[in-house]
Amino acid sequence: MNSKIVEGAVAQFSKLPGIGKKTALRLVLHLLKVDEQNVYDFSKALLKLKTDLHFCSVCHNISDETICSICKDTGRNHEMVCIVEDLRDVIAIENTNQFRGVYHVLGGLISPVDGIGPEDLNIESLFVRFQRNEIKELIFALAATMEGDTTTFYITRRLNGSDIKASTIARGISVGGELEYADEITLGRSILGRVPYKL
């Protein structure tokens, strides 16, 4: 390539997941063709992700403000908390329109092999919510994998002896246990048909 500038842009695009050199070049060539304003809006939207976006101080969901729209919604049941791994799960469950509680986003799952322990996740803040007596029911919507099980196990063990109601969403929901891939109907049904979890 004979432009360092184009080369640099291609290199940046190809850092994105699922984007190879070929696709990156195609995207860059496309941007060269569009109006300057479009490119400006595009880059501004990217920057805003880092400068203006917050993580909700209650549930760690992404939010434009300190507290997210779900946590702010008084029409929802704030005593029923669905525990998920990340943002994608919130989106998947919200799309089912079957869940009227609130969330707690852990930001990962316990996996010593990957160097992830409970202290690396948003678990302490869950117990803060719990100690404030805000939570009556927990729904674990974590992947049906060893890591998901371990995380559920860890949290429920620490709730031992409490009178919180706990359940997991019906298992075998999808390929490889990844929530994200479950179609909305199955996921909606899983949310409704939960399996009680003995604390």
Binding site: P112, G117, M146, Y154, R157, G176
Partner: protein, 350 residues
């Protein structure tokens, strides 16, 4: 690319031809279609011929003279392997295991006697998993939990941390799995031994006292005790020192390890008896008689043992058999099968 089609005999098939012509590959291809993996090479990419972009295997199985499933196995370089049953891909490849049981008898089986305990555990697990899907899932879950527990031990050691909360979770996952695996292996060996002893007598033609015994740390203590009691040691070693992943089988002749004290002939009789017993035992456990694949057996057995083996194979209960040998004549001379029950495929360069 090379493309070949075969129609097999329901009873006895032989691949013949000179060494290096691909007889073993033929057997392994059948094994692959049955089990979803190669018997000889766990690296699937290496199974692709030379510079070819992919390999593809396809088989139409026949059950009780009726058309059964169509199985397809394919691997394209750089992609994940695909196994399809009647055009529907398996979500988990492992679910194909046990659908069409197959047992291979090959020269490298001697590793079962000579090699480390892992070889014997693998053999035992492959045998049980063929008829017990639950056992296979238990094994996979156990392995995963064990890896995580070992990583957690390493993290604890390196961070000089005493908090056992996470480690304790893996203990709780491992304990029931280890107990279940232990019980299953114990039960299997107890049922397997009489089948094995009878076959050893038949193949060797001798009354030598041979034995198999199952060795497990769980015989002395339950898994919970082992994990708790060996914690300090495990922490320093940064891995789990006790459990069913340390199980072994003792193979003996005249109460001595056959690996050290058995003659070559005794070792061969032992191995063939072990594999044939695996076959016979499997028949009693699965709906379809497994496919039996015999790689290069004629070269490895003396005449009397070979004749004993063939006599056993001719029994009604043995299902479809595939054999490889350099000589078509030898096959025709030793097999006790009638003409219509035999197909011989002479392999050549192209």
């Amino acid at each position: 690319m090379v493309n070949k089609d075969y129609i097999f005999n329901a009873k006895f098939n032989a691949f013949t031809g000179k060494n290096g012509i691909g007889k073993t590959n033929m057997l392994d291809a059948i094994f692959y279609l049955c089990t979803g993996k190669s018997y000889f090479n766990s690296n699937d990419v290496q199974l692709i011929h030379n510079e070819d972009p992919y390999f593809l295997l396809k088989a139409s199985f026949i059950k009780d003279s009726l058309p059964g499933d169509e199985i397809l196995c394919a691997l394209v370089r750089g992609r994940k392997k695909v196994i399809k049953k009647n055009n529907i891909p398996y979500e988990r490849i492992v679910d194909h295991y046990g659908e069409y049981p197959a047992i291979m008898i090959a020269p490298n089986d001697l590793e079962l006697l000579m090699g480390g305990s892992e070889e014997r555990r693998k053999w035992m697990d492959a045998t049980i998993a063929m008829y017990d899907r639950q056992y296979l899932y238990h094994l996979m879950r156990y392995d995963k939990a064990l890896q995580q527990r070992n990583a957690e031990l390493k993290n604890m050691f390196q961070e000089n941390r005493n908090n056992k909360e996470v480690l304790e979770i893996y203990n709780q996952i491992l304990i029931p799995l280890a107990q279940a695996i232990f019980e299953k292996r114990k039960e299997f060996i107890a049922e397997f031994i009489p089948v094995f002893l009878a076959l050893y007598k038949e193949i060797s033609g001798k009354e030598e006292p041979v034995g198999i015994s199952y060795v497990s740390q769980l015989q002395d203590h339950p898994m919970a005790y082992l994990l708790e009691n060996k914690f300090r040691q495990d922490l320093i070693m940064q891995r789990t020192s006790n459990g069913t992943h340390k199980d072994d089988l003792d193979f003996s002749i005249f109460s001595n390890p056959i690996k050290k004290y058995g003659s070559q002939g005794q070792q061969k009789s032992f191995i063939f008896s072990l594999k044939l017993a695996q076959y016979k035992y499997s028949i009693s456990k699965v709906a379809v008689a497994p496919i039996l694949l015999l790689d290069d057996v004629c070269e490895r057995l003396d005449e009397s043992r070979l004749r004993n083996l063939m006599r056993i194979l001719a029994q009604q209960e043995f299902g479809q058999i595939f054999i490889s040998d350099t000589s078509s004549e030898r096959i025709l001379n030793t097999i006790p099968f009638e003409g219509e029950k035999v197909n011989i495929f002479e392999l050549s360069e192209h």
